[in-house]
């Protein structure tokens, strides 16, 4: 393994080495493949030096070397070979396809492994693939790239968080987010937009990953099964995402410049709001339906009845008609059409024999698709490695960034959000007055004024520093590494509601600020030992780690601002709140991992980790986690060696135990909190039930798979099956509220996820200047809750999702399965909605209260996800395309009561969708939309608004051209690329009734706040 690393390192060096040494001899030659075709881009290196060149398009090279040199020829996918320089000045080489072919090294966090030596399931994504998705946050690039990984945008606001689920959901109440590891160190990746209790603020979410420049990232590895996540076993139940930043490449300093500029819009148009005229039609029809029979007037006389009873109905429609029926187009008023986005990065890498560096500076800027929101980031990084002496090596990786998000209220259907405004604002109200000024006399506060005068902004400064020193001990293959990492984040949030209009008008303006500093330290000490004799290879790692998180939090608020336009609390006449707290948590662990292989044919891996977490009482703190894995590389066996057909064939299986402790701190304790007050004095209350027995939630994962490479690796792929049973769930068990508490965390319950994953990649055409490849992946997940808690009477207590009571989990259901009455259509005779009384669907009722809630056999979690990748290049031109499919789930339309029902909200208060015009009008009408009424209605969740979640999205398409070196050399460039890149250009939605964007967050509710975006950018990369 060390050898491979060394080889790779050399290879990297050679890529960039342009140095010319004083020569003793010049060697020339041609490199061809087994078919005799010339191979361009083969690395030819003088062994033991930095001296190297690459073959040109004709497979030819020329290198000056010393007389006694050895040349090393290497090329990805081929076995490298060494040829001693003799008397001849011509050395031709024929490269042979490597049986193991993909000597890819997979970075797994603590350890890196050759793919051959892996027994688990992991997918590594290169920087180039990451670059295909232009986005503020690098995790967005993972969509469609990894079988079994589901990702959805929680919001289209730049820099907001993504919901990522790897192989389903393993926990009901503890977190389901994967663990993030950057350069071998676990990092905290919670939404930053939180108050002191960890509750999301009403404004846009902010992902810590948005502070990273994706250009600085070398690769991302997604670890899926117990064997792969074993090293992080204690917190690995939800999978692990390992991010590795770029390291320096020794040799002549090369500089990379990449820039793009483009435009974004909402990915799909979404529902159209009613026009004023449509809304008026529905209103009069509602009056007819509500009062026509009682007061004896006809449909056509409804308008007259309205005008005769203005005292009851109000004057809004009359006034509107008197004004000449002007249409208030709020959709247009709040839109930021073709919102610009841009990113510019310059990076440099280079170094000498004993040191290397990578440095970069990046700038990213994006506006949202509505007025009043934007995101920008400036980031810098410096990675440096130095051999202090023969045996000591120092390495440091540092990133510093500052991001600014001008957010909007989007945590709920806030009236002040410009996104919601286009549906909630009445079309009878005009955005602007006739003189062009902003109309302040609107039913709900005018969002144009609000976005201009309110403040909602997040600033984050993050410094991430990872330093290590390693000592190659005098014992062969025994090295010791000590690592210290700090992740320091300074978060500032400020919100201000103006004095004139909206939420702050009652109190003459109000402001609220949060200042939060967090520091996460990680100390690691590890020993690596390799023992190799004969065909027996042992690699042993022992590691000790301590991670500590500290948070200082302050918030303050005030109102009665002295003047307009000044929004800091210094201007607030009346301070209304001040709060500070300090919290911390710590994790300590000991890890041992042993890899053994026999001639690379038989591979055995074992890992054991013992981890203690401060979230549990001292006698419940420690958990033991482990995994075992085995693999058989059949292509190494005699009977397949040298086969033309099979180049790679591996069988593998693993089993292990992982954990999850992803709950709030101090949940186990029985506490009295004092963050309350009464009559100016402090007040104490018991915030939680507490449970001193609380301990780790665990998962046991079985994973088996086959990996193959056929026809000179033209066809590669893998197939895997997994089954994960989670036990002792950290369940927020519902309590009788008579206790004074609604729930208590206990270790109860079991759940199972299982599924298949397939990956297939084919190089359909592989030649010198024409290549076509097509790849795809498919992942399935079947989730079942096996057990939840029981009450004192032994009756099972179904667990209601804390975010919605229409999702429940009970034994035999899916986790958070949709649970609501089943809609039975609109009665053609009366025009009212009907529901099935119970699960048998025998009986129909028009009284919602008589309709039982039933499990709907579906959840928000997609059962299937798939990705499709296509690449073609021809003489420098290339096209990359990538699509994503998710489906088998159901999503629920949020806010339908106010926007998509035939009631008074849509006709008198807010506005509705234009599809409401299909309402039932007379007996015999067959339609989904019920009869219009202007009355109020309570919330009635039912399956009428539960839609198939299946969608296909053309995630990205890139068309570009790589300039030929011949053209570039005279102008001093070594590489240049020009491209046009589109993201989310096309979306297919299965369910016609689903008008909103189908890509919804993990809760399964559609969003009217900030839908995902599509973008088109023009970019250029230069290398010199």
């Amino acid at each position: 393994m060390k050898k491979t690393l060394h080889g790779l390192l050399t290879l990297f060096m050679v890529l960039v080495v342009q140095l010319v040494f004083a020569q003793e001899k010049t060697i020339t030659g041609t490199v061809v493949d087994e078919d005799g075709l010339p191979l361009p881009g083969v690395n030819v290196i003088e062994k033991g030096t930095n001296n190297g060149v690459q073959t040109d398009f004709d497979g030819e090279y020329s290198i000056s070397v010393s007389q006694r040199a050895t040349l090393v020829f290497s090329y990805v996918g081929f076995a490298s070979q060494e040829i001693k320089v003799g008397s001849s000045s011509t050395i031709n080489a024929t490269m042979v396809v490597d049986a193991a072919a993909l000597d890819e090294v997979v970075v797994m966090g603590y350890v890196s492994k050759k793919r051959e030596d892996m027994t688990g399931s992991a997918v590594q994504i290169s920087n180039e693939t990451l670059q295909q998705t232009p986005a503020a946050s690098v995790d967005q690039a993972l969509q469609g790239k990894v079988a079994g990984l589901q990702i959805s945008s929680t919001s289209g606001t730049p820099g907001s968080t993504q919901d990522i689920r790897i192989r389903g959901i393993s926990s009901i109440n503890a977190g389901n987010d994967p663990l993030y590891v950057i350069n071998g160190v676990p990092v905290v990746n919670d939404n930053l937009s939180q108050d002191n209790n960890g509750n999301s603020l009403g404004s846009s979410t902010v992902s810590p990953l948005a502070s990273l420049n994706s250009n600085d990232i070398e690769s991302i590895t997604v670890l899926k099964d117990a064997s792969a996540t074993a090293a992080y076993g204690a917190r690995g139940a939800n999978g692990v995402i390992v991010i590795t930043t770029k390291s320096g490449k020794a040799g002549k300093t090369t500089i990379n410049v990449s820039s793009y500029y483009g435009f974004t819009n909402n990915a799909i148009d979404g529902p159209q709001p009613l026009t004023g005229a449509q809304r008026e039609t529905l209103y009069y029809e509602g009056i007819y339906n509500d009062y026509g029979a009682e007061y004896g007037f006809s449909r056509d006389e409804a308008k007259q009845f309205y005008e005769d009873n203005l005292g009851v109905f109000g004057r809004s429609y009359l006034d509107w008609n008197e004004q000449g029926r002007p249409e208030g187009n709020w959709f247009k008023a709040v839109q930021n059409e073709d919102a610009p986005m841009q990113e510019h990065v310059i990076s440099a890498t280079g170094g000498g024999e004993d040191h290397n560096f990578y440095a970069s500076l990046g700038y990213y800027d994006q506006e949202a698709t509505v007025i009043g929101a934007s995101f920008d980031r400036i980031s810098g990084s410096l990675n440096f490695t130095k051999d202090i002496s023969e045996n000591f090596k120092f390495s440091t990786a540092n990133t510093a960034s500052h991001l600014y998000q001008n957010g909007i209220l989007e945590g709920s259907a806030y009236f002040s959000s410009p996104h919601t405004a286009k549906y909630f604002m009445s079309p009878l109200d005009q955005p602007y007055n006739e003189d062009g000024s902003i109309n302040l006399d609107t039913g709900l506060p005018n969002p144009i004024f609000i976005t201009r005068n309110d403040v909602d902004e997040t600033k984050l400064t993050r410094i991430l520093s990872n330093n290590s020193i390693s000592w190659q001990t005098p014992i062969d293959n025994l090295s010791f590494t000590s690592r210290f990492s700090v992740d320091y984040q300074v978060y500032n949030y400020k919100t201000y509601n103006n004095r004139i209009l909206g939420d702050g008008s009652e109190t003459d303006g109000d402001g609220y600020v949060i200042s939060r500093n967090t520091a996460t330290y990680v100390f690691q000490n590890s020993l690596d030992y390799g023992l190799y004799f004969g065909n027996h290879n042992f690699d042993l790692k022992i590691l000790q780690e301590f991670q500590k998180f500290r948070r200082n939090y302050i918030d303050a608020s005030g109102n009665n601002f002295a003047v307009d336009g000044l929004t800091n609390l210094a201007v607030a006449g009346n301070p209304t709140g001040a709060y500070s707290d300090f919290t911390d948590w710590a994790v300590a662990s000991y890890l041992g991992t042993l890899s053994y292989n026999f001639d690379s044919r038989y591979v055995l891996n074992g890992t054991y980790r013992r981890e203690g977490n401060s979230r549990f009482a001292s006698d419940r703190r420690w958990g033991d986690f482990w995994s075992v894995g085995a693999a058989w590389n059949l292509h190494r066996e005699e009977f397949l060696k040298g086969s033309d057909f099979v180049n790679n064939l591996k069988l593998r299986a693993s089993y292990g135990k992982t954990g999850n402790a992803n709950i709030n701190v101090n949940q186990y304790q029985v506490l009295v909190n004092y963050d309350a007050n009464y009559a100016g004095a402090g007040a104490g209350y018991p915030p939680q039930y507490g449970n001193p027995d609380l301990t780790w939630e665990t998962s046991r994962t079985f994973d088996a798979g086959i990996e193959f490479g056929l026809f000179q690796n033209r066809l590669t792929g893998s197939f895997a099956y997994y089954k994960r049973e989670s036990r002792d769930l950290l369940l927020d068990v519902p309590l009788s509220m008579t206790t004074g508490f609604s729930s208590q965390f206990r270790n109860i319950g079991r759940m199972e996820n299982q599924g298949f994953e397939v990956e297939l990649n084919g190089n359909i055409v592989r030649s010198e200047d024409f290549n076509i490849s097509l790849g795809g992946n498919l992942g399935t997940v079947k989730n079942e809750v096996l057990e939840v808690s029981k009450d004192l009477n032994g009756v099972e207590v179904p667990v209601t999702n804390s975010s919605t009571s229409y999702q429940r989990s009970a034994s035999g259901t899916m986790v958070n399965e949709w649970f609501m009455p089943t809609w039975a259509g609109v009665d053609p005779d009366t025009g009212v909605d009907t529901w099935y009384t119970d699960a048998s669907r025998d009986e129909i009722t028009s009284n919602y209260n008589n309709a039982q809630r039933v499990y709907q056999g579906s959840s928000a979690l997609p059962k299937f996800t798939a990705g499709l990748n296509f690449h073609v290049d021809f003489k420098g031109f290339f096209v990359d395309a990538n699509g994503y499919y998710a489906g088998g789930n159901k999503v629920y339309e949020s806010w339908h009561l106010y926007l998509n029902q035939t009631n008074g909200y849509i006709s008198s208060v807010y506005n509705g969708y234009s599809t409401l015009m299909n309402r039932w009008q007379e007996p015999g009408d067959i339609t989904r939309v019920s009869k219009m009424s202007n009355g109020g209605e309570p919330w009635r969740y039912n399956t009428k608004y539960l839609y198939d979640g299946d969608f296909i999205r053309l995630r990205n398409v890139t068309v570009g051209y790589d300039f030929k070196p011949q053209i570039l050399e005279p102008i001093g460039l070594t590489g240049a690329r020009l491209y046009v890149r589109g993201m989310n250009l096309y979306t297919w939605v299965k369910d016609d009734n689903l008008q909103h964007d189908p890509e919804v967050d993990a809760t399964g509710f559609t969003s009217i706040t900030t839908p995902p975006i599509k973008s088109v950018v023009l970019g250029v990369n230069l290398k010199f």
Binding site: G443, F523, Q669, F741
Partner: protein, 466 residues
């Protein structure tokens, strides 16, 4: 061999380096810098005060007396309706609530939990003034009784033909965390016992003139309210009499009436919940739901304008915001204190008790004490103030006077129910289609579904399916 020994030495050195940094379980103890462990939370009498504040603070939540409990009752009467401006209280005003609603069930029991921590405390074992400790314990008993009374009124089956009340919780984290519903009679007995206990434990020495904390006679004021509600007229008379005889309280005068809602601790206030400029519910406050264009859902029904005679100072509570009839001056600001029980109610409780105990003449005197203080002094000194008094003490007149006096304060709904009256449809703007007859299942709130899920011993009220 030598090499082997050296190797062992090196491995040992490195292992020691590792161990040097090793950490143990105690390194993993989390900081606890803004909370106390429960066992450390009640060490002194002053700690008791802090937990009592906690109970009172829980009463101020918007789910309870901060807004919802008052509004939900008010919008179910002919006083107000919901215009749905922000989508709030349409369900309640239309009697359309479902078991999915938790309403005040959780809030009230959370208040009870805080009170029980104090009630379960052995005062004698604490540092500090034991008399004060006992007084605080008395306050906790009164709070526990009031919360259970509110729960019983809301969820009990007294108006829907059943006998079930609510679980009466007397212990914090007691053994039975899946309690069954007790009978209405048993609830009443417990409430009265708690109030008696409260009265006995509290001392006049700790009379609180701010009215933001409970004093000895608050227990008796509550008792008169409970007794009137259940027609226990002797108890009502006796309890009210003690409050009156205490001499601590006065009826607010006609000149001060409207203004009194903008002031804290007025003479007629017996107990009120504290809000302030820095501690209020902001957009979830009563003032925000009664007025303004952002929420302002709760609007006054047209019939209320005709409720008051000319010259009745209480008519000035009403006003117009544009074309909308509003409650303008009760809970005038977000930071206005919320009265829980006023002296006027005790007076009327006393009068109504006398009426029902056959002392109609005496009752009339007490009934008229309120309207006598509600007639405006005319601008013209030659003019007599309007005569708002009654000539006869009847149940109807008591009901009418209570509606006028306590409008928008959430009491009228209970007065209708205890008099076995229907919720009439009198205005087109009301959120109900037609009159809700007395006895209709909707007069008892549904037990929350989440409670039924967690506690299979709990029984739903009739009419709500599951």
């Amino acid at each position: 061999m030598k090499k082997k020994i050296r190797n062992i030495f090196y491995i040992g050195t490195v292992a020691c380096l590792g161990l040097f940094n090793a950490c143990n379980t105690s390194d993993l103890n989390p900081s606890l810098e803004q909370s106390n462990r429960e066992e450390d939370a009640v060490m002194s009498v002053s700690d008791m005060q802090v937990l009592l504040n906690g109970a009172l603070n829980r009463m101020t939540s918007s789910g309870y007396y901060g807004r919802d409990y008052i509004i939900t009752n008010e919008v179910r009467t002919t006083n107000t309706f919901s215009n749905g401006n922000s989508g709030r209280f349409l369900t309640e005003a239309g009697f359309l609530y479902l078991p999915s609603s938790v309403y005040m069930w959780d809030n009230a029991y959370a208040v009870i939990a805080n009170a029980n921590i104090l009630i379960n405390t052995d005062v004698e074992s604490l540092e500090g003034n034991a008399d004060l400790g006992l007084h605080i314990q008395g306050e906790a008993y009164a709070i526990r009784a009031l919360a259970h009374f509110d729960l019983l009124k809301t969820y009990g089956q007294q108006h829907v033909g059943g006998s079930l009340g609510v679980p009466y919780i007397k212990e914090f984290k007691g053994d039975n965390d899946a309690p069954t519903r007790e009978t209405i009679d048993s609830n009443i007995e417990d409430i009265m016992n708690d109030l008696e206990m409260a009265y006995n434990l509290m001392s006049e020495d700790y009379y609180d003139s701010s009215k933001e904390f409970l004093s000895k006679y608050v227990a008796k004021a509550f008792e008169s309210r409970v007794a009137v509600y259940f027609g226990m007229w002797e108890e009502a008379r006796d309890a009210a009499k003690l409050v009156i005889d205490s001499g601590n309280y006065t009826i607010i005068s006609e000149g001060e009436y409207v203004d009194s809602f903008d002031q804290d601790g007025t003479g007629n206030s017996i107990f009120e919940l504290a809000f302030s400029e820095t501690d209020n519910l902001s957009s979830n406050s009563l003032s925000f739901i009664y007025r303004g264009g952002t929420y302002g859902d709760v609007q006054v029904l047209p019939n209320v304008e005709n409720l008051y005679a000319e010259g009745d100072v209480r008519k000035d509570i009403l006003g117009y915001e544009g074309e909308l009839l509003r409650n303008m001056y009760k809970y005038p600001e977000q930071f206005s204190n919320v009265p829980i029980i006023r002296y006027e109610e005790v007076i009327l409780n006393y009068g109504e008790a006398l009426l029902n105990l056959g002392q109609a003449g005496e009752a009339l005197t007490w009934l008229n004490m309120i309207p006598m203080n509600r007639a405006k002094t005319p601008d013209d000194p030659n003019e007599d103030p309007a005569d708002l008094t009654y000539s006869e003490a009847t149940t109807e007149n008591f009901l009418m006077e209570r509606r006028k006096e306590f409008i928008f304060e959430g009491l009228y709904y209970w007065d209708l129910l205890r008099n076995e009256m229907s919720i009439e449809k009198v205005d087109a703007l009301q959120n109900i289609d037609k009159t809700i007859p007395y006895g209709d299942f909707r007069l008892a709130y549904p037990i929350p579904l989440s409670e039924l899920d967690a506690n299979s011993s709990m029984e739903q009220n009739p009419g709500y399916g599951i």
